[in-house]
């Protein structure tokens, strides 16, 4: 699998994401935000966590209009696989590739701890390595992870089986306890928890490994 990880000024999980992808067997290239095109023959793009552009204006808003993001939107519209983690999820909602928005946590505090998640669907390249309804544990680290969308959008996400992960105990006020959602074609996943921070026993958990393994395994033969 040929993968790219986008690096914005203020990204801080880009190298962790590259390490997790490489451990799963991916050939990973880092792509700077000023690039106007993605490397040719790419299967997968990762938008990492962090504080792109200092979270100025709104989290992810400036990054969503960076040159590379125009290329990422084009890649996704052509059916490419995109994973946005934390700030990457915020960027995906700002580009319109995923519906809704991520607002300030309901408790107003930055939350950094490992939380329980329920796998909402195993029906995607990203989540096929988990059983539906399985409980997993992944770290979260965010101030603005309160997923918000109108009732119609939430109902559509539920009806179309597009909620990838739910929080077991809602830490941030997210609508319907949503921790991660899929695009309509199931090839774009945005999630606030950090699977790349749970791929090695030294991380304190390895529940994120199945996600990268499934993606790299599926796209290796594609």
């Amino acid at each position: 699998m040929k993968a790219a990880v986008v690096v914005f000024p203020g990204s801080n999980c880009d190298r962790d994401l590259a390490v997790a992808l490489r451990a799963a067997g991916a050939d990973v290239r880092m792509v700077w935000h000023k690039e106007t095109a993605l490397p040719p023959g790419l299967d997968f793009v990762g938008l990492p966590g962090g504080f792109s552009f200092g979270d100025y204006l709104r989290c992810g808003a400036i990054a969503a209009h960076s040159p590379v993001c125009r290329a990422v939107v084009g890649f996704a519209r052509r059916g490419g696989y995109v994973l946005g983690i934390c700030n990457g999820f915020q960027i995906l909602t700002e580009t319109g590739l995923l519906p809704g928005a991520l607002l300030r946590n309901a408790g107003l505090k930055y939350i950094c701890r490992t939380v329980g998640l329920t796998v909402g669907t195993a029906n995607s390249t990203f989540t096929q390595g988990y059983e539906q309804n399985r409980h997993i544990a992944l770290p979260i680290a965010h101030h603005d992870g309160n997923y918000t969308a109108d009732a119609e959008t939430i109902a559509r996400l539920e009806a179309e089986d597009r909620i990838a992960f739910h929080y077991v105990e809602n830490p941030n006020g997210s609508a319907a306890g949503i921790a991660g959602i899929l695009s309509a074609n199931r090839r774009v996943l945005g999630m606030m928890p950090h699977p790349e921070r749970a791929v090695d026993p030294a991380h304190g958990g390895t529940d994120g490994r199945a996600l990268f393994g499934a993606v790299a395994g599926s796209l290796a033969v594609a």
Binding site: L57, R58, A61, H65, T93, E94, P99, G100, A101, L103, R104, N105, A106, G107, L108, T148, A149, G173
Partner: protein
Amino acid sequence: MKARVHVMLKEGVLDPQGEAVRHALGALGFGGVSAVRQGKVIEIDLDETDRAKAEATVTEMCEKLLANTVTERYSVTLD
């Protein structure tokens, strides 16, 4: 020309920061504050001198970048 953009969370979207400010005002002894909403003011200096064109441009800026219309509403005033 100067444009002033007000960006506020839409009605019905919970504003936890505004709620925290409301609580703090109550703690300071200000009674009768039933709600507080917190937003942003963005001031933009424009070379444009035509008001209609300036308003159209700033509206486009709001739609594309300054507001996230999923959760926010905006208003534009020109000086």
